[in-house]
Subunit: 146 residues, 2 copies
DNA sequence: AAGGTAGGTGAGAATCGTTGTCAAATTGGC
DNA sequence: GCCAATTTGACAACGATTCTCACCTACCTT
């Protein structure tokens, strides 16, 4: 690898010797697909959407790209109750989700209270380097009306 | 199905006419296995333990039994970051877990603060019938020392 | 522009946890 | 002991995800 520094397109990783990430057609397509939704979607759904749009991208690539984006915190990912991973574009700041069980409508919520609580609890028990998962599932107003 | 109504499913349910779940050798073995651990274990690990102990129980049965127990809230279940289901005996009251990423040591924690917060948030956004998942992962003191 | 090369792609195979199938075995009530 | 409902377990089937690997492409160097 050469020594010239480069600032690659989308995934925010940089500095000398950092892995280069190339802005390929496929990556742009996946990113665009995420913009088209505003609720959580699975890799397979995104793959299907792209195929229907005529911008077909290999399933492996969709998985890879979503993972890369999620690792870089450029999108949110979470697991449904059935263990499936779903993804969504996100706001960048740390937050959690309130997801409608029936229609998928999602609200991003912030929880300074919870953040404080988790680190307090962790410290209390001598745990370090703590991360947490917190998701709320419920029925939104619209869906409750039926 | 006969005419008498019976309470389906619930594991520790008894009394007249309510015997849908039988205390078989296999179920006792799975329950005993859970007592032997105090951290979370996967169905496969429990299946392996039983096999090694010479109390072999079919894998399907282990899965079924764990699910039944979890549905009846007699054991805790949660999903690891990789989507695998893991189980553990539990205290019965609502609580969350602080799990060591490296050795699996688990602390049950209660969070009245969090419970209040979640219902407040949910109400604020008009969501009803809300459930939540909250798990903490970290490195316990013992593991941090290496 | 040409060439080299590290990174990226995708079709299909492989994995892995989990669930379904169904005949045989067990259980509890009579 | 007999019977019917329940349970079991070997095995197949499944679905999501990851791996493989030959081919492709973006991007740097010349």
């Amino acid at each position: 690898m050469t020594s010239t520094d480069r600032v690659p397109g989308s995934v925010s990783e940089h500095g000398p010797g950092a892995t280069a990430v190339r802005p390929t057609r496929q990556r742009r397509a996946v990113a665009a697909a995420l913009e088209a939704f505003d609720d959580f979607r699975s890799a397979q759904e995104i793959h299907a959407l792209l195929r229907d749009r005529g911008e077909s991208v290999g399933l492996s690539t969709v998985y890879r790209t979503l993972q890369t984006l999620a690792d870089a915190d450029e999108i949110d990912s979470l697991r449904t109750e059935t263990g499936e991973s779903i993804y969504r574009r996100c706001s960048g700041t740390h937050h959690h989700h309130l997801v409608c069980r029936s229609c998928g409508a999602t609200v991003e919520v912030e929880g300074p209270t919870v953040e404080r609580w988790t680190s307090a609890i962790a410290g209390e028990h001598g745990y370090t380097d703590v991360s947490h998962t917190l998701e709320l599932f419920g029925t939104c107003r619209a869906c409750a009306g039926r």
